[in-house]
Symmetry: C2
Subunit: 329 residues, 2 copies
Amino acid sequence: MKLTINEIAERAQVAKSTVSKALNGQKGVSDEKRRQILALAEELNYEPSASAQALASSRTGSIGLLIPHEAGYSLAGAYWSAIITSIAQVANLHNHSLLILTPATGDDVSGPVEAVIRRRNVDGLIIGAEKLDPRVISRLIEEEIPFVFIGRNAQIQHYSVDVDNLGGSERLVSHLASAGRRRIACLAGPEQYLYTQDRVAGYRNALAKAGIEWSSVIHTDYTSEASREAMARLLTEHPDLDALYVTAGGEFLLDCIDVLRLSGENPKRIGLGAFDDYRFFDYIDIPVCAVRQPLREIGEAAAGLLFDFLSGRVPDRMNHVLDVELVLR
Amino acid sequence: MKLTINEIAERAQVAKSTVSKALNGQKGVSDEKRRQILALAEELNYEPSASAQALASSRTGSIGLLIPHEAGYSLAGAYWSAIITSIAQVANLHNHSLLILTPATGDDVSGPVEAVIRRRNVDGLIIGAEKLDPRVISRLIEEEIPFVFIGRNAQIQHYSVDVDNLGGSERLVSHLASAGRRRIACLAGPEQYLYTQDRVAGYRNALAKAGIEWSSVIHTDYTSEASREAMARLLTEHPDLDALYVTAGGEFLLDCIDVLRLSGENPKRIGLGAFDDYRFFDYIDIPVCAVRQPLREIGEAAAGLLFDFLSGRVPDRMNHVLDVELVLR
DNA sequence: CTGAAAGCGCTTACAG
DNA sequence: CTGAAAGCGCTTACAG
């Protein structure tokens, strides 16, 4: 029924080990036979069984993408969706499948990771890094499963692909300042995330360079309640606020915009800056300057890095930092 | 090194076939031994190797999600992202992994499907149905790989999970009519898609029920140029237009809104209806009534259906139609 | 270069 | 109920 290597071997009048070598491009086969075998395989449309290869070689032919779930960050959908697509395409190029690992709502990622480790069904992992149990990482290292980060982690140094959080943030806030804004507050995500720290640092750098002394940073988790409350507090405590920098996108940003719009404040008076750009910014009644992340490139770079590891190359740089684009409005 | 079934068998003083049966909940093992074995496996944290199980049982333990790519439909990101998450979670519940299959940009899905069939690395497939080469389906049937649709296909009848396109559309347009709109045009997606046909039918039903004779439907592919041109044409050909129903979301919808805003037309004069709801509708200067699809439920239902097949149950209904929600603004 | 053999870690008839 | 054996379709030393 199923076309196997035995059939190919028989038809080509060689041993199946020879077929295997020919197909896998290993040396130890004469050019003559190799050509024959390849032609035959092509003709019969033969493709080795993934499970058999996996069992025999202890390489599964798949990589996993570990997506952490963030409270109220579901518009992050657009973020992960673009990244998934680009990773899947790179994986295909390398004849690998892409597995999506994501915890049940409310759980953390350690469950799916543990399962994947124990069942041995990935060769390597790409991991959304900001929030990560160090024990998960220990397990991965213990089991010698290669992995790379998307974003970086405050506790764990590792090969990563990240965007220029600090620089992008600084440029964005500098732009607000150069537009004459002097009371620029910063509504920031969870303080323990490295990207939050970087973005806040960029904010402070920009203020310093512009010679602005006034600053105000409020951190929130991304829950809707906390974000809305923080935003409201900012508006009442600083009635002279003339600009606001929100360090992340998704529902978080929408909650902030929402409070701003409902505050009775003239929204146009307040310059808004956001990290993460959405096309609908063009359509709303508040001008939003934003930092756009190169999502496709993030996925491609992370996958590229992982496949480097899988093929035994050790990348020269540990942290790949991609440029972001400023979108002015 | 790796903990195998042999180790378990040895420690429990039984044959590995007995361990296998116990672990898989098959009968033919005494309660006594079963308990012992289960306890031991639990204690040692044993988990069978996915590849070995796959090879021996010819069940891979993974399902695939086939995502078609649509020109200019990338905000569909939010759509697929929610669906991916819910499918992954259901798959986990069934101890299965989720593979993402998506073609390289510009290609169609047959490549990834063919690869997955030949390498035999999924037990079943969930397929975005609207645009599908019938040959792909033939191959799947030929190879006896179970699959279910998300959405429906105009050519191919098959088990599917879909939303109530016709009803939702009708309710939405009825609402526009009941608000006094009389010149309601419809900007629709590709005519060959079943969901487009259904949504347009809902539009016509609503008009008929409201006793409105005037109607205008323009189909476009989802490319930006075509959508913008169609939208512009609509506005110039029908200066008395007082409402517009756009049958889909994503970039397509944004292009339409964009043209409307730039037309010089007072956007508030024109009632806008959209199929697919986005939270940012709350923030734009045009009131948009929208149909919200239950994305999580779509994914869950589709995965549920597939696992029914995989465990030999034949679902009673062929087409599962989920209700949509009307969001008025 | 070539092939016979063992082995990857399970499952699944089959016999007892 | 229990276990010995064959087999899933490959890869990988190893010997020739």
